[in-house]
């Protein structure tokens, strides 16, 4: 059973990869979002910090942070509101529900295929920018080792929450509006406007508890050794907690949503 699911997922992934590869230029234009936005804040903080430092970040640290941000925000991106919500709204979800595989396996395949196709453009951009900006980097090996698990959790939370917002389409025609709200909160509290350590008091406390930071900012802080010891352990625990919570929300919304979907007869 398990291996059949995986085999199904693998073939979905191949199909989505082949499909998206046709639209690689369009995909690349979407991918540029995860380049342009970090550059804006990279520029702003480089200007603001001058030759001093803010909350332990000097100019090089900001540059490094936003370079890693580009990669992490691409790899943890949720696109389900653009892929699944329209199929729910138009009823194109129906044929996928007849397959012997949960429709969100397809969403997952699309998600991974999108990221993979874009890597061929983005990796050269990342490397190019790193070579131009050349920030000093003092590796923290524990952080680098923990980066991968933290990234996987971040991508999972992001995918699950993105799917939850997409499933709002079972009830409302404007799931996109809710997603907009979520994204602008993620901008502020997730580490894009500023690294969480740079946020002032209340915002920082909120960011540590709320899920946004754990979908993008936290893995970066881990990789760069910005969180250490007890703080690191607590952060990973909170991240694991949000992963479980997001999974639970996903399951609950799916069960309720599918009932609703049938009832509408879409």
């Amino acid at each position: 059973m398990r291996s059949r699911t995986l085999a199904g997922f693998a073939s979905l992934l191949r199909a989505e990869l082949a499909d998206l590869f046709q639209y690689r230029i369009e995909m690349f234009l979407y991918g540029l979002w995860q380049v342009v936005n970090p550059i804006i804040y990279l520029v702003i903080w480089s200007t603001v910090v001058g030759s001093g430092d803010i909350a332990g970040y000097d100019r090089d640290d900001f540059v490094l942070y936003y370079l890693v941000f580009m990669a992490v925000s691409h790899l943890t991106l949720a696109i389900e509101v653009y892929t699944m919500a329209p199929s729910i709204q138009t009823g194109r979800l129906s044929p996928h529900m007849l397959r012997p595989l949960h429709p969100f396996w397809r969403a997952g395949a699309l998600n991974i295929a999108y990221k993979a196709v874009n890597l061929m453009f983005l990796v050269p951009i990342w490397i190019g920018l790193a070579l131009i900006l050349r920030p000093a980097f003092d590796p923290d090996w524990l952080g680098i080792a923990l980066f991968l698990p933290s990234m996987v959790m971040a991508a999972s939370i992001s995918f699950l929450i993105g799917s939850c917002f997409a499933m709002f389409a079972f009830w409302t025609t404007r799931s996109m509006s809710f997603w907009d709200i979520w994204m602008s909160l993620t901008l502020l509290l997730g580490g894009q406007v500023a690294p969480v350590a740079v946020l002032p008091g209340v915002l920082q406390q909120a960011a540590v508890i709320l899920p946004m930071r754990y979908t993008v900012g936290f893995p970066i802080e881990v990789a760069l050794g910005r969180v250490q010891g007890a703080e690191l352990a607590a952060g990973l625990a909170i991240q694991a907690g949000w992963t479980v919570a997001a999974m639970a929300a996903f399951v609950v919304l799916w069960r309720a949503g599918v009932k609703r979907y049938g009832a509408v007869g879409a």
């Binding site: 709200i181 602008s184 909160l185 502020l188 002032p200």
Partner: protein, 263 residues
């Protein structure tokens, strides 16, 4: 002719309004969306200014005025421009653009003033409020001339946005699978949240002459916040007219390449 077109656009607008009021619950959700989006945007500016006095020479109040203009223009574009032009992309893809061409009014008119996303009115209002409040805090004396200049510059900015959007949309006649124009436009428009003086030289040039976001937010904000207006103030009308002419010519050229969808 102009009167009749205005009448038609008015009828389209009324039907968009009626459609909107059929979904009043969504309207409420949209107001919340606008308020929260604005809140986080202001939050971002405040976070930056909690570590500095000025940003590219702009004070907190001046930067917030600029943010107000950004939100206002963003809402205006989302309400009046993108719905119609995005529809063109869909129609060309599906082949239903034929019906637009058959109507006894100019295609460019129908392509530009057929659909309205009324609910973005909340962004327009909120943007104006932020601008007003920020200006009140700045204590700038508004002379009649200053206000007139500001409105004229804002009109130039919006015209430039329309020209860019129309040009991007026209690409659909060659690349049927033109990407989501909103997405591409917003990508570069994001840079207009902050004064262009923040950006390094090459990026500033790019945002002034290639993708002229500078004229949409920074230049009007300079005029209204009493900052020394740069020479760009005098270039803005020229760029607006040139961009509009170029975009409409490009549209007509693109239209002549339209081959419908049956090929």
């Amino acid at each position: 002719m102009i009167g009749r077109l205005a009448q038609i656009a008015g009828a389209y607008f009324r039907s968009a309004l009626q459609e909107e009021f059929a979904y009043r619950g969504d309207l409420f959700g949209n107001v919340i969306r606008s308020v929260l989006n604005l809140g986080t945007a202001i939050g971002g500016v405040v976070v930056i200014f909690s570590h500095t006095e000025t940003l590219g020479g702009w004070t907190l109040g001046q930067t917030l005025s600029l943010l107000g203009i950004f939100v206002f223009v963003n809402g205006f574009v989302a309400m009046f421009m993108s719905p119609s032009l995005n529809r063109v992309v869909e129609e060309v893809r599906e082949g239903t653009f034929d019906y637009v061409l058959m109507k006894p009014v100019p295609a460019l008119f129908l392509a530009s003033a057929r659909r309205f996303a009324v609910w973005h009115v909340s962004d327009i209002v909120l943007g104006a409020i932020v601008l007003g409040v920020a200006l009140a805090g700045l204590d700038v004396r508004a002379s009649g001339w200053g206000v007139l200049l500001f409105v004229a510059l804002l009109a130039c900015g919006v015209t430039i946005v329309y020209a860019i959007w129309l040009a991007l949309t026209t690409l659909v006649f060659w690349f049927v699978r033109v990407a989501n124009v909103t997405m591409i436009f917003n990508l570069f428009f994001q840079t207009g949240r902050y004064p262009i003086e923040v950006y390094p030289f090459w990026l500033r040039q790019l945002l002034t002459f290639v993708f002229p976001v500078a004229f949409v937010t920074t230049v009007p904000a300079q005029a209204v916040t009493g900052r020394d207006p740069s020479w760009l103030v005098w270039v803005a009308p020229v760029i607006a007219v040139v961009a509009l002419l170029a975009a409409t010519r490009f549209w007509r050229f693109g239209l002549s390449r339209y081959t419908s969808a049956s090929s």
